[in-house]
């Protein structure tokens, strides 16, 4: 009873709180990083060095007036932000944050659950997230959001194919579909899959950028295009949900990338005994550190690269990334059979 109900509930509460707090502070981090790249300081007024800026943002968004367009479809209009946010959060149920920890005499694994189709679960939940975007644009009953949402969802489903193909080649390397199994497979192989599958990592990273609508693929939500994209008609807390869902998706892609390519919670050189002093650092700190590095690269790219035009974006997805990913699967399969 305790194992099956109470402990997972506590873990869920901790993970949800941690994710939501990190998402709000990601906003501040992004503004700071972009500011430093542009040789300025970013938010500095609210709190010391601008640390309380997310609190101010949250209060502002919550007290804003909640407008629903007159002829919009009210149920779908209200449900769309929820449909975008929920998949971003429930993916955290299968991500392993660390190996094991000893508390109150029990050995508690640091993941909420480990299903044997974990990787497919993540991909399928991500494909549900597309609905929120389509429905947000449609239910606004207005031309610009509808066209922007069709563009955004077309972008998402195109890059989903490329990302899923890279995950297939990873499954060939790891031999399992469960996320915890991937970390163990990297431990046994002695090498992070980043070095075994560099092409897959590059394709996954670019696909992850496009899946989360991040620059340079953020055409659907840029203010200069289509008057603000699919969340034009949303204001107040509902807009905040879209905003937060995007950052939550970023954290999801980083966490999944870290688990699959960067060894999850393993320390660097996990099989080398001479470096065992690195084990003093707990496994979840390694995981969080690697995720943070991943996230920082996301922000760095946003600050640096210009935006892709829509047809360039679709050409890149269909004509470049998908053939490369499929070729990667074929080569990986051939090498696994021959070696």
């Amino acid at each position: 009873m305790i194992e099956t109900l109470v402990i997972p509930l506590i873990k869920i509460v901790i993970v949800l709180n941690a994710v939501l707090v990190s998402v709000t502070y990601m906003v501040l981090l992004e503004r700071k990083v972009i500011a430093w790249v542009q040789v300025r300081l970013g938010p500095m007024r609210v709190g010391p060095y601008g640390v309380l800026q997310p609190v101010a943002d949250a209060i502002k968004l919550m007290i804003k007036e909640d407008i629903t367009p007159t002829r919009a479809d009210r149920w779908v209009f209200t449900a769309a932000p929820i449909i975008v946010m929920v998949p971003a959060l429930i993916v955290f149920a299968v991500i392993p944050f660390g190996s094991e920890v000893e508390l109150f005499g029990r050995t508690i694994p640091l993941y909420i659950t480990d299903i044997n189709v974990g990787l497919l679960y993540i991909v399928s939940v991500a494909s549900i997230g597309v609905y929120g975007i389509i429905l947000a644009g449609w239910s606004s009953n207005s031309k610009y959001p509808l066209l922007a949402s069709l563009r955004a969802s077309a972008q998402l489903i195109s890059y989903e194919v490329a990302v899923t193909m890279t995950l297939v080649s990873l499954v060939l390397m790891g031999g399992t579909l469960s996320m915890v199994g991937f970390v163990h497979a990297q431990h046994e192989a002695g090498v992070w899959f980043l070095f075994a599958q560099p092409v897959a990592f590059v394709v996954f990273f670019i696909g992850g950028l496009a899946e989360t609508n991040r620059a340079p693929f953020d055409m659907p939500e840029a203010e200069q295009e289509l008057t603000g994209g699919f969340h034009t008609e949303y204001s107040g807390m509902r807009f905040a949900l879209f905003f937060l869902a995007e950052y939550a998706n970023m954290i999801v892609v980083s966490a999944v990338g870290v688990t699959l390519f960067l060894g999850g919670w393993l320390r660097p050189f996990a099989n080398v005994g001479a470096l065992a002093f690195l084990d003093l650092v707990p496994s979840w700190i390694w995981f969080l550190g690697k995720t943070f590095v991943f996230l920082y690269v996301f922000l760095w790219i946003r600050a640096t690269l210009p935006r892709y035009r829509y047809d360039q974006l679709m050409r890149l997805g269909w004509k470049v990334l998908i053939p490369i990913a499929i070729a990667n699967v074929v080569v990986t399969g051939a090498l696994r059979v021959l070696l």
Binding site: D73, V76, I115, N116, V117, L120, Y121, V123, S124, V125, S127, I128, V130, Y131, I134, L135, W138, L146, L150, S153, I157, L177
Partner: protein, 173 residues
């Protein structure tokens, strides 16, 4: 006991949302109810120990096919109003009567036929398949040994369907 609660809840939800699919006034609402039906069918597969099929159901059906339906509905709805109920009631009453008859017949067959259920043993591949690990390994093993040719044919079918859909929907070749 828990299994019974799960089954009856999921069955009620599946049938409820299926009825809403067929009877909703706005096409987009129909599509949304279809997504919910598929999600609950996937949950039913999980209770039947078919996890791989459950995630494939969500990934392919709910996350792929219905997105396609939603796109087409929106492209078609751009100029027209949502479909109003222009059905003559005579046709719907006749349809309901006939379907009720067939359903009663199927129920009778199911309940009285199960009294003498054939205790058929599984296919010859059952013993070695269950020696595999989980559900995914079992399905994969069957797909790549006994049913390899249907597997390849299915991929050919999907390729042909993809080309056909592109050719049909393009504006100019």
């Amino acid at each position: 006991m828990g299994e019974a609660i799960a089954f009856y809840t999921l069955a009620a939800l599946i049938l409820g949302f299926a009825v809403l699919v067929v009877s909703a006034k706005s096409t987009v609402h129909s599509v949304l109810f279809l997504v919910l039906t598929f999600l609950f069918v996937a949950a039913l597969y999980v209770t039947l120990q078919a996890e791989f099929l459950a995630v494939i159901q969500v990934l392919v059906y709910a996350g792929g096919i219905v997105v396609l339906y939603l796109f087409v509905v929106m492209l078609v709805n751009l100029k027209r109003q949502p479909e109003t109920h222009a059905d003559p009631h005579r046709r719907s009453r006749l349809g309901l009567a006939l379907s009720g008859l067939v359903l009663a017949e199927l129920a009778a067959i199911a309940m009285y036929g199960s009294a003498s259920s054939p205790a058929a043993s599984g296919a010859a591949s059952a013993p070695e398949v269950t020696a595999m690990g989980g559900n995914v390994e079992q399905v994969g093993w069957l797909l790549y040994t006994d049913y390899l040719i249907p597997f390849e044919l299915a991929s050919m079918l999907l390729l042909v369907a993809m080309i056909g859909a592109i050719v049909l929907a393009k504006r100019e070749l």
